[in-house]
């Protein structure tokens, strides 16, 4: 097999199980790719070449002894640095936890290992996952593989960049307000925020407890489905985990999407976005129609009101987790994260509770809309990847630039606030050559349906086949 680091996880695992590709060869190819691109991209906080090769040799021995191999047998995996991998530093992108080495895998990592995946390193991230840029004062900025002067977004920026750069075919990220979907869109890969409670967060350093999720990033919806087959399921060690039936995500992709309904909240989804983003989303809707999906428009007024309650919850909860360190080690935080944590301490309990009540209202409205449609569709970000130093960004009117960080999570905050699944899928490129992502929002625990729509879309398009020049 030539260039094994270019394979999707599904193709790589199939080649490994068929003995056409050694897991050692595959792992070494990805480690070589990390070495080749890391100076340019800075996707990893740490790389575990020795541990990964030892795991690959163990996989090889299992296969030689007659084992059938798992669905992800021998497939290299990048793990965001706020998710525990036994024996590897888990800093959460912070100086505060710079020396923390867990002695056990997080539940998500353990499940992927059981399916055959091989962790090769810990991916860079925004400090403590509290931010959307992956500008990290402690471990350096992760750069976008498509243009190194652009952000990879975040907070799972290293995970998105590693997959886009072909350093790892699959990655784990966490998503509170958009931290999987934003880097997926900025880097041109697929990223899934599961329904809250679908994937165990045990062994993961929290950001905002009531919105935190763990999920996959990969180049294809099919690979994300393979990962969800391994990741999804109840975990009694996670008090937020849901005990709901788990569908066969990969198998579901073989079903037709004909007759499924996708709803566009046009007044929200296509307002105040860059023209290239609006055009890509409209074109994508046409592609979905061409494969038999019915596209309708809906109006959901509450979508325009998400920012304040989402940001209030997203600000208050991390401050509770960090309260002690904020007083004993304030100098060890980056300036942006420290300011946000301080701000969270000043928010009123009454406003927090009203924001939680807004979530109930928003979720009811979205579920109403999802009774008449199988998914809602929006852009993932209103713009393509911003410049590394961008404070403002042009949306529609060059004479009236917007504050970038006030808009970056406008769409991803919706399923985060409602506890629903959200999937970002590459849907084209802007005139600047940067990827554009669209977001599908679904009913609780119906990630398989979102992946099915994305898979049908990817079968009809080739955006996901393009690779950045590195």
């Amino acid at each position: 097999v030539s260039d094994p680091h270019e394979l999707t996880a599904e193709a790589a695992a199939a080649a490994v199980r068929a003995r056409e590709l050694s897991p050692v060869e595959l792992t070494q190819a990805c480690l070589d790719r990390v070495a080749a691109v890391e100076d340019a991209v800075n996707a990893f906080i740490s790389v575990d070449a020795d541990g990964a090769l030892a795991a690959a040799r163990a996989s090889e021995r299992r296969l030689a002894a007659g084992a059938a191999g798992g669905p992800l047998e021998g497939v290299p995996l990048a793990v965001k640095d706020n998710i525990d991998v036994r024996g590897l530093r888990a800093t959460a992108g912070s100086r505060i936890l710079a020396d923390r080495v867990p002695d056990a895998d997080a539940a998500s990592v353990a499940r992927l290992r059981a399916a055959g995946a091989i962790p090769i390193g810990k991916a860079n991230m925004h400090e403590f996952a509290w931010g959307g840029t992956t500008i990290n004062p402690h471990y350096g900025t992760t750069r976008n593989p498509w243009d190194r002067e652009r952000l990879a977004a975040g907070s799972s920026g290293g995970s998105g960049a590693a997959v886009a750069a072909r350093a790892a075919p699959i990655a784990l990220g966490t998503d509170t307000g958009g931290s999987i979907r934003l880097p997926a869109a900025a880097c041109g890969v697929v990223g899934l925020r599961p329904t809250i409670g679908r994937v165990s967060t045990q062994g993961t350093i929290p950001c905002a407890w009531t919105m935190d999720t763990v999920g996959p990033l990969a180049r294809t919806a099919a690979d994300c489905a393979l990962l969800m087959d391994a990741l999804a399921g109840h975990d009694p060690r996670d008090p937020g985990a849901a005990d709901a039936p788990v569908p066969a995500h990969r198998a579901a992709l073989e079903q037709s999407v004909e007759g499924l309904v996708v709803a566009l909240p046009a007044g929200f989804a296509l307002a105040r976005v860059q023209p290239d983003v609006a055009a890509a989303v409209r074109t994508a809707l046409g592609v979905l129609e061409s494969v038999g999906v019915q596209v309708v428009e809906v109006e959901i007024p509450e979508l325009h009101d998400v920012r304040a309650p989402w940001l209030l919850i997203h600000t208050a909860e991390p401050s509770a987790y960090h309260a002690e360190w904020l007083r004993t080690r304030p100098e060890d935080y980056g300036d942006d994260v420290r300011a946000l944590l301080e701000a969270g301490e000043t928010l009123r309990a009454v406003d927090y509770l009203q924001a939680q009540r807004f979530r109930t209202l928003l979720r009811a409205r979205l579920l109403d809309a999802l009774r008449g449609a199988d998914a809602l569709l929006t852009p993932t970000m209103p713009f393509t990847a911003p410049a590394l130093d961008a404070e403002t960004i042009v949306l529609e009117d060059p004479a009236a630039p917007a504050v970038m960080l006030e808009h970056i999570a406008r769409y991803t905050a919706v399923p985060s606030t409602a506890g629903l699944p959200g999937l970002s899928v590459p849907c084209g490129f802007g005139g600047d050559g940067l990827p554009i992502g669209m977001q599908l929002i679904g009913r609780p625990f119906e990630e398989d349906l979102l992946l099915r729509l994305a898979h049908a879309y990817q079968q009809a398009t080739d955006h996901h086949l393009r690779a950045p020049a590195l």
Binding site: T195, W209, A244, A308, E342, L361
Partner: protein, 78 residues
Amino acid sequence: MSAMRSDATLPDDATVDALVRFAGLGELAPERTAGLAEWLRGLMPEIADTSARMAAQREIPPASVYGQPPLGLGRERA
């Protein structure tokens, strides 16, 4: 802590300063409070608006909070 404006939950400068001091943060790094106050002032009107609208919709129940499945999703489907 008594300087809350009567027309909204929008705090004035003195209240923000008091909140920061109350949280024990201003004493750690007083130079940071200016940026913090600016951020809060930008967000507070929206938060106040949301709170006012939610307060007027008393029929909406409180959401579940951490300690049980978030938003009750797990319990609904279990």
